[in-house]
């Protein structure tokens, strides 16, 4: 996906054309409530990066600065465990990861993200979100609200998983010894 060429005066008077990037952004839950005009302004604030197979996107413990949306390819999320690398999940086109870095000031990546095949990722960073909030606060607030919704959903999922695990442990014959 090549960026459209920019020339001073044609850009001032250019008519809006929907690009494939707008399609990918509009399908992402964080940007699903944005209008076409807002998506167009967002297009200038995201970064398109290409990754080769087995190329890390970021390592566990790195300082995070933004999130990534998978436009093409697959990305594995891995963590270090005592036994070695533990594959948490594999994400495909349309998924996103690293969104906590948008709001956490000292975010350290809790896992490693590594491309499993030739992948195209779209990066959206904290500085661009802050710039969006300064210049287009309506759009920025919509993105923040959707981000809060996503984080709330993930917190609920994590709580349910912990409850299930705790319930399974209580039903386990070894529960008494553990307790």
């Amino acid at each position: 996906m090549k960026p459209s060429p920019h020339f001073l005066f044609t850009d001032l008077f250019s008519r809006y054309k929907r690009s494939p990037l707008d399609e990918i952004l509009s399908q992402n839950i964080l940007f699903s409530t944005l209008s076409r005009r807002e998506l167009r302004s967002l297009r200038g604030r995201v970064y398109e990066r290409t990754y080769q197979p087995n190329e890390p996107v970021f390592e566990q413990g790195d300082r995070g600065f933004g999130m990534y949306i998978i436009a093409k390819g697959r990305v594995a999320i891995q963590t270090h465990a005592v036994e070695g690398e533990l594959q948490v999940t594999t994400l495909g086109p349309g998924s996103f990861f690293g969104e906590l870095a948008l709001i956490d000031p000292e975010n350290l990546r809790s896992a490693r993200a590594i491309a499993q095949e030739p992948s195209v990722l779209i990066g959206f960073f904290k500085a661009d979100l802050l710039d969006l909030l300064e210049r287009q606060p309506d759009t920025g607030v919509k993105v923040l609200f959707q981000l809060a919704t996503v984080l709330g959903q993930r917190l609920l999922e994590s709580t349910e998983k912990i409850n299930l695990l705790w319930g399974a442990k209580q039903g386990s014959p070894y529960y008494g010894e553990v307790a």
């Binding site: 960026p3 920019h6 001073l8 850009d11 001032l12 302004s41 200038g44 970064y47 990066r49 990754y51 080769q52 197979p53 087995n54 190329e55 890390p56 996107v57 970021f58 390592e59 566990q60 413990g61 790195d62 300082r63 995070g64 600065f65 933004g66 270090h80 350290l108 990066g123 960073f125 500085a127 300064e134 210049r135 287009q136 606060p137």
Partner: protein, 355 residues
């Protein structure tokens, strides 16, 4: 076909070196060619100063392109008006000043020689000093330099000030695109850190420039009002000089006060204005030092005063007054880069240990 990790490492390092070389190369060209560097610097300052106004217009629903065009046109019109007014005032006052200057100069030299004789008779160490002759030598040297270079310097300054609004327009409109083209050169493994560091540097530079501009405006207005109130001639021209020179760290307030203080020293009829003019500059600098600087500038720079002094001295020895102006923002940027590089190295070392 997947590349080997070693080949990828080498390729990434080559790309990073290339990207850094591009930045350093552009910086070196701008540094070496003032005809390019000065309009770029002035345009950058104008862009940073205008950016909050552009953001304000965008918040009200105007498109970015239109906002930039409007701000640039209005800014250019105001700038042209100020320059036209300033030139008219300057030409009018210069004509009168140049007619009276030889007489005033002779009077000042006479008074200096008389004072020198008095001090020589009182203090033995002054007998070996020839301050008036040394000053006359320095002045004649400056006169010779001014005679051969003044026209060129004024011509250059005029071209720079005419080009600066165009540079500001391009930076406001397409500056982020240029930055994105630079990011495309950065390999993936360093991409996020580069974006983080460059955004912090740009934020620090923008805050510093806006803080210094505000400081200059406050000092200029206080001096203008004060000098006009005490009846000093050329009050607003002197205030403009004081406001502009105030941006030079440490010596700026002194440099700004010198032209105003020379008036009562040169012109005996204005001698009574010496203490009022001194008081005006003292009040302006006290307000600057205790109110404006701590509130707006100090927290942006966040460098130890000794470090600031050393940095300003290095800037002055490297590139004169321009070096002094640029040294502090460059030092603040270097501090950001150093902090981020250190944090990145630390996290990589911790990761290597945990692996």
């Amino acid at each position: 076909m997947a590349k080997s990790p070693e080949r990828s490492d080498f390729r990434d390092r080559v790309r990073l070196v290339f990207a850094v070389s591009v930045v350093l190369g552009i910086g070196a060209v701008l540094f070496a060619l003032p005809a390019l560097g000065m309009p770029t610097l002035l345009g950058g300052v104008l862009a940073i100063a205008s950016s909050p106004i552009v953001a304000w217009l965008e918040r009200r629903g105007f498109a970015r392109g239109f906002s930039v065009l409007l701000v640039t046109c209005v800014g250019a019109a105001v700038f042209a008006g100020v320059v036209t007014w300033g030139l008219a005032v300057l030409v009018k006052q210069w004509d009168g000043f140049s007619e009276r200057f030889p007489v005033l100069f002779e009077q000042a030299v006479g008074r200096l020689r008389a004072s020198e004789e008095v001090w020589r008779s009182k203090v033995a160490v002054f007998q070996s000093l020839h301050i008036t002759d040394a000053l006359l030598q320095a002045v004649s040297g400056s006169k010779a330099w001014a005679a051969s270079n003044a026209a060129r310097v004024m011509g250059d300054a005029l071209v720079w000030t005419l080009l600066a609004p165009f540079v500001a327009f391009v930076l406001l409109k397409d500056g982020s695109l240029v930055l994105r083209q630079f990011y495309a050169l950065i390999p993936n493994r360093y991409f996020e850190e580069t974006v983080m560091v460059s955004s912090k540097i740009l934020e620090a530079l923008a805050l510093y420039v806006r803080a210094k501009l505000l400081e200059g405006i406050v000092v200029g207005v206080i001096c203008g009002v004060g000098l006009a109130a005490v009846g000093a001639p050329y009050a607003w021209v002197l205030a403009l000089i004081a406001g502009v020179t105030n941006t030079i760290p440490y010596v700026g307030p002194i440099v700004g006060a010198v032209p105003a203080l020379l008036i009562p020293l040169f012109d005996a009829s204005q001698a009574s204005l010496l203490w009022p003019i001194l008081l005006v500059f003292l009040v302006a600098n006290v307000i600057d030092s205790f109110l404006v600087f701590p509130l707006f500038v100090a927290q942006v720079v966040d460098l130890h005063p000794l470090v600031l002094i050393a940095v300003v001295m290095v800037g002055q020895s490297a590139y004169g007054v321009i070096g002094m102006l640029l040294s502090v923002p460059l030092a603040a940027s270097a501090k950001v880069v150093g902090q981020e590089l250190y944090a990145a190295l630390l996290s990589r070392r911790m990761r290597a240990r945990s692996n």
